[in-house]
C-alpha cells in the first residue's frame, strides 16, 4: 500500500515533466517582476486514523509554518518549488518538514501573486517526541481557493507513510516580488 502510493507519486512527477503545464507564472515578465517566487503558508495537517477515512476518527496533527521558494528561470520546464517548515500541535510530536511543490495549474493575479491553482506536494516529515524520532514521506494534492490578495485557502488530501490518509487546510500565500 505504502510503496504503491510512492510509485503513484513518482509516476505523477514524471507526467508533470512530460506534459507542459499551463502556468501563468512562466510568462515573460522579467522586466518588472522578479523571477524568484516566495511563499509563506500556515498549514493545518491532520489524519483520519484508520481506513476507511472517516470524520469521526479525524484528528489534527500539526499547525505548520511553511516557507516556499522557487525560480521561474531555473525550473522552467516544471514549475517546481522547494518548501520547508516547522509544525506543532498540543500533545502531538514536534514536526519539521521539507519537500517540493509542483504547480500543475496556476493562475496568478495581475499583481503576480497566487490566485488559484492545483498543486501537488511531496514532503518528508521528521516528528520528534519523547518516544523518539519518526520519519515519513507524504505525497499530497491541494486546490487553492482565492480569498485574499496573495492567495487564499488551499484544501487537499494526501497519504502519509506513518499516519495514513491525511487532510490539509492551508492559508497559502505566494508572490513574485516587484523589482
Amino acid at each position: 500500500m505504502k510503496s504503491a502510493n510512492v510509485v503513484s507519486f513518482l509516476l505523477c512527477l514524471m507526467l508533470c515533466a512530460v506534459l507542459p503545464p499551463r502556468v501563468s507564472a512562466e510568462e515573460n515578465k522579467a522586466e518588472y517582476w522578479s523571477s524568484d517566487f516566495f511563499g509563506v503558508s500556515w498549514e493545518l495537517l491532520g489524519s483520519f486514523g484508520s481506513l476507511p477515512a472517516s470524520l469521526d476518527t479525524a484528528q489534527v496533527d500539526a499547525l505548520s509554518l511553511m516557507a516556499t521558494y522557487g525560480n521561474a528561470t531555473i525550473f522552467r520546464l516544471v514549475p517546481l518549488r522547494l518548501r520547508a517548515g516547522l509544525g506543532w500541535w498540543k500533545a502531538r510530536p514536534f514536526m519539521a518538514s521539507a519537500g517540493i511543490e509542483i504547480a500543475l495549474l496556476e493562475l496568478l493575479s495581475p499583481a503576480r501573486a497566487r490566485m488559484t491553482g492545483l498543486y501537488m506536494f511531496g514532503d518528508f516529515h521528521m516528528r520528534v517526541s519523547s518516544m523518539g524520532v519518526n520519519f515519513s514521506f507524504e505525497p499530497s494534492a491541494r486546490v487553492l481557493i482565492p480569498l485574499h490578495g496573495m492567495g487564499g485557502i488551499a484544501i487537499g488530501a494526501g497519504y502519509d507513510t506513518a499516519l495514513g490518509m491525511t487532510w490539509h487546510i492551508e492559508n497559502m500565500n505566494g508572490i513574485y516580488p516587484l523589482k
Binding site: Y32, W33, F38, G39, V40, S41, W42, S109, P110, A111, R112, A113, M115, T116, I145, P146, L147, H148, G149, M150, G151, G152, N171, N173, G174, I175, Y176, P177, L178
Partner: protein, 125 residues
C-alpha cells in the same frame, strides 16, 4: 429549505472568493491629468516613485490607502524635482514585496500590504 440555504451560502462564498481573489483595482489621477497624446519637449530624464497600497482582504473591497487613485501625487513631485512639467511613457505597476508577504502571512491574508509604482520619462515644454 436547508438545501436552498446551503446552496446560497456556497454561491455567496464562490462569488466573494472570485471578487476578493481577483485583486481588481482602478488606476487614475486625482486631478484628471492622466492623459494620452504626443508630447514634445526637452527630456529631463526618467523618474520612478512608489507608495504603499494597504487594504483589508482586497484593494477593491476595503482600501485603507488609495495611491492608485491619486497617481498625480506620485508623478508631480518627481517632475517638479527635475524641473519638468510633463511626462511620457508612464508605466503603472501594482504588486508586492517581501515585507508585504510577511505582513499578509502574519495576518492570515487579512491585511493586504502591496504597493503602486509609477515610472516614466520627464519632459519640460
Amino acid at each position: 429549505m436547508k438545501k436552498r440555504i446551503s446552496w446560497a451560502f456556497v454561491l455567496l462564498a464562490v462569488g466573494m472568493s472570485l471578487l476578493v481573489g481577483s485583486c481588481a483595482t482602478t488606476f487614475k489621477a486625482g486631478n484628471g491629468k492622466l492623459s494620452y497624446g504626443s508630447i514634445n519637449g526637452t527630456s529631463r530624464g526618467s523618474f520612478e516613485n512608489k507608495a504603499n497600497a494597504i487594504s483589508i482582504l482586497s484593494p477593491y473591497l476595503f482600501p485603507i490607502t488609495k495611491p492608485n487613485e491619486k497617481l498625480d501625487e506620485l508623478i508631480e513631485p518627481e517632475l517638479a524635482a527635475k524641473g519638468a512639467n510633463a511626462a511620457e511613457n508612464i508605466q503603472i505597476r501594482y504588486g508586492f514585496d517581501l515585507l508585504g508577504l510577511l505582513i499578509s502571512s502574519v495576518t492570515g491574508g487579512f491585511l493586504n500590504w502591496g504597493y503602486v509604482s509609477v515610472s516614466g520619462n520627464a519632459l519640460s515644454r
